[in-house]
Chain length 296, copies 2
DNA sequence: TGCTGACGTTAGCTCTGCTTACGCCTGGAG
DNA sequence: CTCCAGGCGTAAGCAGAGCTAACGTCAGCA
């Protein structure tokens, strides 16, 4: 039988992206982790990691084993919670994983309410960008994951977890105040093809979405500034450096003073926001999920 | 995090019913097993076993942990199989658990066919009486379980496994050849209340079923001979010592020479036979299940 | 070409975990 | 009642697993 400790180590290394990183998180020396992984590979009979000069990546066998490792670690933690619950030793801790913009908009209100009602519960927040995070829910590093999908991006395999649509959030077009195109009644992507766009780097879902929209409209957009941080995008637009699509929620309730908010007639993207948790969530998870679902 | 090895040990001890028994199966000394269990109890923070003079039984916490232990062991074995399959190292082994009478009737034909088509696959057969066996499927000690339910007996929690009804098998009333009551056209339980009955000991599902039937008919039956072995029951009836209900299949295709087979008009019990296996069975399991399902 | 950061290896020590030996307890046979 | 068998637990000792520390190796970079 495979060794669960070593599998847990594999999961940790996969998440950290390097042996040294995992070792640090676990308060071990890299050597110890390396040796244990070597033994796991001997047990399995095949290499699990590609040793790159900068960190490691998983082989196909390693990938396959990783998903199992995560469910096993999750089962071990579930077992632990079961007996804790039987012994009335509630650990009272809730770890929520969010993507950056949700962490600034959706989550704080729910978190504040939750904290008011359950001051004894230790709340932890983790930043994760999709499609990461599912494995951490499987392994119970995370109690609740808030994740999203941009149009066209694939929806990851739920791996036996419970996933529900929290809401669908449309994107708005933002322009600097007084921008020439802001006066146009019916804005289209085609009409905006000549502008300087602000978006994420290639590969970031944000950017992929924008390029897909442009393809659909038959135009080619020029991305003049690259950043994945929506707050930075807002600042750049405010400074008159370009235009962008941003999720409605990052605009805030009151809106921004020096920004014009419009819609493109031929491109109305929206991202879906999902809640992911274990099949039978505890009461704390259920309550937090309910708070997040409540319209604000 | 709990130690998976110790949890596996707990499962082994629970199945064996004693520390010494588990130790023998695992080729350890009882002392080693005892020490590991003591450490597991310290980890958990609560006793898991009642130490009886003859063997051990689980505490409620132990029971709860056992089900988790079984799924964890099962997950570990699943992980192992996944990588074996990726590396094309099929272990080619199939372990089937059956109850005694199925082992003599249902299974042999299917097993023979299977062996003919897959001579390289190692077949193992385990005898188990319901409601045991589900845990062994969870922990992958068993690939396929054939189990049954007598009328009125509770159906165990499937625990995330796949359970399908294989068939429903009625019971027939058997009497010694030339028995006075064998001439009666319409036999009833009430009319047979004065006879010597042959059945299992109290607690055996067989016996519980008989008593329930008697209650329903408003009579009290006298069990003169107790045995759970249907072959022995047949022999006793042949010898003229009493009458009994037996599953149809134990009568064999040709029937028995010195036995009269009848039905009771007011009591026509039947037991349900189930197939239990993991959610996503491998091809060998699927094939064996198909063979068993085929009417003979 | 030297420097940095990451991984791997080796030697050595600590500590886990097994065995052996022994004691305690209960239930059944004589 | 006594004795014995079978079960569990504890103590001491030893082997091996697993960690640390120190050093070696390699790729990328100035």
């Amino acid at each position: 039988m495979l060794d669960a400790h070593r599998l847990a180590l594999l999961a940790e290394v996969a998440h950290a992206g390097s042996i040294a990183g995992a070792a640090q998180r676990l308060s071990f020396t890299p050597s110890a982790v390396s040796q244990q992984l070597a033994k796991l590979e001997r047990d399995v009979g095949a290499p699990l990691l590609h040793r790159n000069p900068r960190g490691v990546t998983l082989t196909p066998v390693g990938e396959a084993l990783l998903t199992h490792a995560e469910t096993i670690v999750g089962e071990l933690r579930t077992a632990e919670r079961t007996v804790r619950a039987l012994l009335d030793e509630e650990p009272a801790q809730l770890t929520v994983g969010t993507f950056a913009s949700a962490g600034m908009t959706l989550v704080p209100a729910a978190l504040a309410e939750f904290r008011r009602d359950h001051p004894a519960v230790a709340l932890r927040l983790l930043d994760l960008e999709p499609p990461d995070g599912y494995g951490l829910v499987s392994s119970r590093d995370l109690d609740l994951l808030i994740t999203h999908r941009y149009p066209g991006a694939p929806l990851p395999d739920p791996r036996g977890l419970d996933r529900s649509l929290l809401r669908s959030e449309r994107f708005r077009l933002i322009l600097p105040e007084g921008h020439a195109k802001a006066r146009v009644r019916r804005l289209t992507l085609r009409a905006l093809a000549g502008e300087d766009w602000i978006s994420g780097s290639p590969g970031v879902p944000n950017r992929a979405c924008l390029e897909q929209l442009a393809d659909a409209a038959g135009v080619r957009l020029r991305v003049a500034y690259e950043t994945r941080d929506y707050q930075v995008i807002l600042a750049l637009v405010e400074a008159g450096l370009g235009i962008a699509f941003v999720p409605e929620s990052v605009l805030g309730r009151a809106g921004r003073a020096r920004i014009e908010v419009r819609d493109a007639a031929d491109a109305r993207p929206a991202r879906e926001i999902f809640l992911v948790h274990h099949r039978r969530p505890g009461p704390l998870v259920t309550e937090m999920a309910a708070r997040l679902s409540r319209p604000q």
